[in-house]
Subunit: 120 residues, 2 copies
C-alpha cells in the first residue's frame, strides 16, 4: 500500500492545524489512483509528528510513503529537518520506501492559485 | 490604477526569494483584467519591504492595491503584521484604497495543487 504524507510546520493556533486537516480532506477526494490514503504530519507544535505517522503507517500494511513538504520556501525545515526525519524512519524500517516531493511552493501551479485568489 | 501586492515572509536564502519572484512573473501572465501589475513585498529578511512597495505605488498612479498574504496559515504575520503595515500606509495615503485577501493557504484551490504535486 502507498500513502501520501503531507509534512507541515504545525502551529500553536489549533485553528491553523485544523485548516490544514480540512484541506487534506479535500485532497483525499482529488487524489488519483496510486494512493491508498493521505495523512497530515507536523514537524513541531502540533500532533501527530512525522515520526509517529510514518511509524504507524509502516507498522500497518503501508510499504511506500510519498512525503510532500507543505512549505512555501526551501528553508531549514525542508532542507534539513524533513530529510532527517525520513532517514530516521528508514533506519527503523529498511525494507520500506519513502519518496520526497519538492516543497509545495516549488510547483508552478501555485501561480494559478494566486491568480484565482485575486479574482476572489 | 489597481495593483496586486503579494506579501511574503522573506527568507535569508536569496534563492527562496528569487523562487517567489519567478512565480510572480508567471502570475503576471495569468492575471485577468482588473490589475495593472503585480509586485512582491517582504515582511522581513528580504527587500523590498511592504512599506516601500506600497509607498512607491501610491507615489505613482496607483489608486488601489490588493494585498495577498503569501502564507500557508494565519499566524501572527497574517493576523497582526500585515494589517499593521496596511494601517500605516493608509495613514500616510488616506485617499488610497487597500484590500486584503485571505492568506493563500485558505484557498481550496491549494487542494488541487497538492493533488497535482503527488502525480509529479
Amino acid at each position: 500500500m502507498r500513502q501520501l504524507v503531507i509534512a507541515a510546520h504545525g502551529s500553536r493556533r489549533e485553528s491553523s492545524n485544523d485548516e490544514l486537516r480540512a484541506l487534506v480532506a479535500l485532497v483525499s477526494d482529488e487524489l488519483d489512483m496510486g494512493f491508498d490514503g493521505v495523512e497530515v504530519a507536523f514537524l513541531e507544535l502540533a500532533s501527530p509528528s512525522v515520526e509517529s505517522v510514518l511509524g504507524d503507517l509502516f507498522k500497518g500494511e503501508t510499504s511506500e510513503v510519498v512525503v510532500l513538504p507543505y512549505f512555501l520556501s526551501a528553508g531549514n525545515h525542508v532542507v534539513k529537518d524533513i530529510p532527517e526525519e525520513i532517514n530516521k524512519a528508514l533506519s527503523l524500517w529498511p525494507d520500506k520506501k519513502i519518496t520526497v516531493l519538492p516543497h509545495i511552493g516549488a510547483f508552478e501551479a501555485m501561480a494559478s492559485v494566486i491568480a484565482q485568489a485575486c479574482q476572489h
